[in-house]
Symmetry: C2
C-alpha cells in the first residue's frame, strides 16, 4: 500500500469549509459542477497519485534523466504519466470547455495538483508547465497558434515549457540576448541559448513547445524590448509532418533533487533554421509571460507545501511507531520505551510541520479562490481580486518554499540517523524541496517584488485591500470566545505590519531606493508570518464551528489537533515578527554601505 502523503480530511476541511468551493458553482461559468463532482475529481486525482505517481517517485529520483546524443531520456513511467495527465483532463483542468478543457475552478484543480505534487513533485511539474503554456496561449495567442498547439499539449502528447533563463540572464531578464529576426513568411528566425529549462526536452512526448522570451532585432534595450514566441522543438512542415526546428538540447543539469524532471540547456538556430512564432504584440513579451510566471509561482508554493506534506506524514508515521526513551519524569529504566510522539520536543517538531503545511495550503487555496472569483467577476470587483492576488503571489510562493525546507528538515530530524539514510524518503524530500526558493524568481526577487512593486502599486491599493481582508477575519473571530486572544494577537500584528510599512515608505521618500529595499527579503518574511497567522485564524473559525457541530470522535480529534496547531503558530511562530520588526525599523543601511572589499581577507 502506498504511504500516506496528504490528509484528505484537511483538504476537504479547507475546500468545502473554509473556502466554500460549492459557492463557486452558483456562477454560470462553474454551474455544471456540484460537490459530488468535485469529490469525484479529487478521488480520481488521488487514485492517479497513489497508483502511478507515488510508486515511481523514488525510482525517478534514483534513475534521473540523461542526455543520450541530443535526446533527453527520462524514466519510462513518465510516458504513462503524460498520457494520464492528458486523457484524465488534468493538464486542461481549468481550461475552458470550448478549448477542450474541464473548466474546473482553480480551487479544485490546484488541490489536485497538490495531491500529485505530494505524491511525486517531479511528475507533477510536467503537467503544471504544460497547463501554464495553454493558459498563456488562451490569453494571448492567435487562433492559429491555439489550434496547432493547444490540443496536442492538452492531450499530453506534447510538452509545454517556459524558456526564459540564459547564461547571462537569470534574475535579470532585461539582459536576455536570444534574438528573433522577422522572416517574410510570418515567422521569426530565432538564435540564442537558454539554460535551466524544466522539462525542456524529453522522450515521453513527441514534441516540446517552448514559450520563449527573445528580442526582435532592433528592439529597445531592457525589458521593454522583450517579445514572446512559441518555439517548438519540432515544427509542422507543409506536408503536416513534424520536422526538426533547429532547437538542440546542448546540455543537461545534474541536480541536488527534483531529479525526476530534466532541466536542460537549449541551443536555438545553430543551423539558422529555428522558427519562432510571435505571441501577441512585439515587445510585450514580459508582460504576457508574467501571467504564466505568476501562475507558476503559486504552483511552486503548492509544490513546496506538497513535498512538506509528504515529509510530514512520513515523519508522523515514524513517530507513532518508533519507540525510544521514556517520559522525562520516568526514572525506572525497566519500564518499556514509549513511542517518540509522546515526547514534547517531538510533538513540537510535528506541530511545526503541520503549522507550516496547513497554514501554507490555506493561503494557497485563498489565492486559488481569488483566481476563480476574478474569472467570474468584472469591473471593480475583478480588479480587487486581481490586486489581492498580485500582493499575495510573492508571499504564497516564498513562505511555503522557505519554510517548507525547514519543515522537511524537522521531519528528517524526527527520524534521527535514519532520516539521513535513503531507507526512508526524507532525504529525497529534503533534496527535492531546495529548488523552490530558487526557481520562478528567487526569494530575493520576491521580496523586491512585494515591497518595491506590489505594496506601492495603485497607490497602495493592493495592501489596503489585503489589510481589509485580514480585518474581516479578525472581526469574525472576535465573536468566538475561544478565538478572541488570537484575534487580538493578529490585530496587533497587523498594526505592526502597517506601521513598519509606513516606516519603510518614509525611508523610500527620504532616502534611496537602495535603502528602501535593502531588507525587502525580511519584509517579505515579516509579511508572510502575519499572512499565515491570518489563515490560521480563518481556519480557527471553522474549527470552532465544527467542534460545536456534534463531531464524531475522529473528527473531534482532527479539529482539536487543528486548534492545537493554531495555538502553536501563535505561540511559536508569530512571535518571530518581533525580531524582524526590530531589524526592519533599524534602517542603518548596513548592507548598502558595506563595500565588496570588506569581504576580502
Amino acid at each position: 500500500m502506498a504511504e500516506r502523503f496528504i490528509s484528505e480530511r484537511n483538504l476537504k476541511f479547507l475546500l468545502y469549509g473554509v473556502f466554500d468551493a460549492e459557492s463557486l458553482t452558483r456562477h454560470p461559468y462553474f454551474e455544471q459542477y456540484d460537490r459530488k463532482m468535485f469529490d469525484m475529481v479529487l478521488k480520481a486525482a488521488t487514485e492517479l497519485a497513489e497508483g502511478l505517481l507515488q510508486p515511481n517517485c523514488q525510482e525517478m529520483d534514483r534513475n534521473p534523466p540523461e542526455l543520450a546524443g541530443d535526446q533527453v531520456k527520462v524514466h519510462p513511467s513518465v510516458r504513462a504519466m503524460m498520457k494520464e495527465f492528458g486523457m484524465g483532463g488534468w493538464i486542461g483542468a481549468t481550461v475552458p470547455e470550448g478549448m477542450g478543457g474541464e473548466q474546473l475552478p482553480h480551487l479544485v484543480a490546484d488541490n489536485c495538483y497538490f495531491i500529485f505534487a505530494a505524491a511525486n513533485y517531479s511528475a507533477c511539474a510536467y503537467a503544471v508547465l504544460s497547463a501554464g503554456v495553454i493558459h498563456l496561449l488562451e490569453s494571448f495567442g492567435s487562433k492559429e497558434l491555439i489550434d496547432i498547439y493547444v490540443p496536442k499539449i492538452l492531450s499530453g502528447e506534447w510538452q509545454g515549457t517556459m524558456a526564459l533563463t540564459e547564461p547571462e540572464a537569470g534574475s535579470s531578464l532585461a539582459d536576455i540576448t536570444t534574438m528573433a529576426e522577422p522572416a517574410d513568411e510570418g515567422y521569426y528566425k530565432i538564435q540564442g541559448q537558454k539554460i535551466l529549462i524544466s522539462a525542456g526536452d524529453h522522450d515521453a512526448v513527441e514534441n516540446v513547445v517552448h514559450l520563449m522570451l527573445a528580442k526582435i532585432k532592433g528592439a529597445p534595450p531592457g525589458v521593454k524590448g522583450i517579445s514572446l514566441f512559441v518555439v517548438p522543438k519540432k515544427r509542422i512542415d507543409k506536408d503536416r509532418k513534424l520536422v526538426p526546428n533547429d532547437v538542440v538540447t546542448s546540455g543537461i543539469f545534474h541536480k541536488l533533487g527534483y531529479r525526476g524532471c530534466p532541466i536542460v540547456q537549449l541551443s536555438m538556430g545553430d543551423k539558422n533554421d529555428c522558427r519562432g512564432y510571435l505571441v501577441g504584440e512585439p515587445h510585450n513579451g514580459l508582460k504576457y509571460m508574467f501571467q504564466m510566471m505568476n501562475e507558476e509561482r503559486i504552483a511552486v508554493g503548492m509544490g513546496a507545501t506538497a513535498i512538506a506534506s509528504a515529509a510530514y506524514y512520513a515523519s508522523l508515521d515514524y513517530c507513532k511507531k518508533r519507540r525510544q526513551g521514556r517520559k522525562v519524569s520516568e526514572k525506572d529504566p525497566a519500564r518499556p520505551q514509549i513511542p517518540i510522539i509522546e515526547h514534547a520536543d517531538v510533538k513540537r517538531m510535528l506541530l511545526f510541520q503541520r503549522a507550516v503545511i496547513e497554514g501554507s495550503l490555506s493561503l494557497l487555496m485563498q489565492c486559488s479562490k481569488y483566481v476563480d472569483l476574478q474569472k467570474v467577476s468584472s469591473g471593480v470587483e475583478k480588479e480587487q481580486y486581481n490586486l489581492l492576488l498580485e500582493i499575495l503571489t510573492p508571499v504564497a510562493k516564498t513562505y511555503p518554499s522557505e519554510m517548507g525546507i525547514l519543515s522537511i528538515s524537522q521531519g528528517l530530524q524526527c527520524f534521527g540517523g535514519s532520516g539521513y539514510c535513503d531507507d526512508y524518503p526524507l532525504e529525497q524530500y529534503y533534496r527535492d524541496a531546495r529548488i523552490h526558493p530558487i526557481h520562478e524568481g528567487t526569494t530575493g526577487i520576491q521580496g523586491i517584488d512585494l515591497l518595491g512593486r506590489k505594496v506601492l502599486m495603485k497607490n497602495g491599493k493592493a495592501l489596503k485591500l489585503y489589510v481589509e481582508e485580514v480585518q474581516q477575519t479578525i472581526a469574525s473571530a472576535n465573536d468566538i470566545p475561544e478565538l478572541k486572544p488570537y484575534a487580538e494577537a493578529l490585530e496587533k500584528a497587523l498594526e505592526r505590519l502597517q506601521n513598519v510599512t509606513k516606516h519603510l515608505l518614509e525611508v523610500a521618500s527620504r532616502e534611496s531606493a537602495e535603502m528602501f529595499l535593502a531588507d525587502a527579503t525580511l519584509y517579505l518574511e515579516f509579511f508572510a508570518v502575519i499572512s499565515i497567522a491570518w489563515q490560521w485564524l480563518l481556519q480557527g473559525i471553522y474549527v470552532q464551528k465544527g467542534l460545536k457541530n456534534n463531531p464524531t470522535d475522529s473528527e473531534a480529534d482532527f479539529l482539536q489537533g487543528k486548534f492545537y496547531t493554531l495555538r502553536f503558530f501563535f505561540a511559536y511562530e508569530l512571535p518571530k515578527i518581533k525580531g524582524l520588526e526590530e531589524r526592519l525599523r533599524n534602517t542603518d543601511g548596513l548592507t548598502v554601505e558595506m563595500e565588496p572589499d570588506h569581504f576580502s581577507d
Copy 2:
C-alpha cells in the same frame, strides 16, 4: 589551484589575537612550542588539506563506500589520508609526547581539524574518531590496552571508532542490549548489534578498533549497567598475528551526504567468538564514553562550521565574479550588469554566512582554550574550566550544526539555479552538513542536556561562571567607544537570559520536569544566540585594537569587514531572542498536554 575553503587571516586573528595561543606556551606542558612552530603546524595542515584532502572531496562523494562481501571498500585516496594523518602526527596531535603524540594545545590542533574538515569533512572524520579513541584510552584504559592499541591507531594503521547506537537504542542509550559475558581468560564475550557506526569498517586500514558500550551479564538496568569495551575487528592471537574477532559488517547505510566516510551496521558474536576488553571499571562505561562524546560534540560543531566555511568562500567567489542586474536605482538597461556582490540582499546573505561561521569558530576556539587551560591547571581553577566546558558543549555542538545548515543554504542561494546543480560544490555541502544536528546527540538531546543538566549542575555554578565570562567581555568592550552600543545590547540580552532561566527554574519547582523541559530546544537556541553575540563582542575588542594599530589596507579591509559582521549579528541575529523569549516565558504546556491522537486525521 585548489578553491579557497578557509580564511587563514581569520584563523590567525582568532588564534593569536582573541585567544592568545602563545600564552599557553608559558605553561610547562606546552613550553616546547612557540608561535613559529604553531605557524609551521598550521602550514603543514593547510598543505595536507590543499594537496590531498580537498582534491578528493568531490570524488569521495561521487564514489561512496560500498560493502563487498563483508568488507567495506572506501575511496582509494583514504589509504593515503590515513597514512598522512598518522605520519604527520595529526591523529596524535594533542596526545602526550610520552604516548607518542605531539602534545599540541587543542587550540592549535582543533584549528588543524577545522582546516581538514573544511577541505573534506568525511576525510577529517576518520582522524577525529581515531584521536578520540586514543584520548579515551589515555584517560581510562589499562597500560596493556594502551600498549596494544594506541601506537597502531596513532600511526593511522588502525581505525578507531565509537560504537554506541543500536537498532532500539539511539537517543536512549539506557536501552542498549549488546551483552558482555566474562570469560576466564580476562576478556568478555560480546554479543549484539550496533548501527550507524561512522568509519565502522573500511579497507584503508588493517584493523578497526571499536570503543563499544555493552552490558555485562547481570548488570543493573539502564545507564547504570553500561560498561565500556575495546572490541577490535581483528584481535591479536597467541602468535601475535591478527585474527578475525567475530565482528561482522552486516550492512552499510546509503546517506544523503557525508558519503566519503562509511556508516555501517556491525554484528558481534554471531559465532560466539567476539572478544571485548573492559575499559576501566564495570558499569562506568557511559561516564567514560562521555569524555569521548563531549570531545566529538565539539568536533561536530567544528565540522559544521568548516563545511559552512567552504560553502561561504565558494559563494563569495561566485558573487564577486557573477554579473547580474544593476543597482535598484539604475534605470538604464544599456549599462553593464554589476557583480552580484554589489546587491544589498546578496551582501546580506554573505554577511549572514560570515556571522555564523566566524562567530561559531570563535566559540569553538573558546572551548578549545578551556580544554587546554583545564589541562594545565588544578584545583578550583580546573573545575571552573571544566564547568565552562560542560555548559558550552551543547551550545558549541548545536549552534554551528543548526545554523551551519542555514548558512550553507544561503550560500547555495547566492548561486541561484547553479547552486542546485552539481557543477558547483554547494549541493554537496548542503547534503554533507545535514548530519550534524543528528549525530553525537540530536539537537533535542542537546537542549535537554543544557537546560536539564548543565544549567542545574553544581547548583547553577556552571551558568554563574558563564555569565561572569560574558560580563568580563562586556566590561572590556564598554571601554571602547565604538563597541559601547553592542556591549549594552549584550548586557541586556544577558539579563534576559538570566531572567528566562529563573522563570524556567520556577516552572521546574512549581510544575513537572516535563513542563520545565518542553521547550529546551528553544532555550538552547536562545542561549546560543547570546553566546555568539558574546563571541562577536569579544572579537570586536581585537578588531578595534587592530584598526588603531596602523593596519595595512588589506588588514583594514579585513577588520572593517569583521566589524560590519559584528554589526550584522547584533542587528539581524540578536533580535531573534525577543521572539524566543516570548515563547519561553509562555509556559502554556501546549506540547505537553497535546495527545498523540490529535495528530490523526
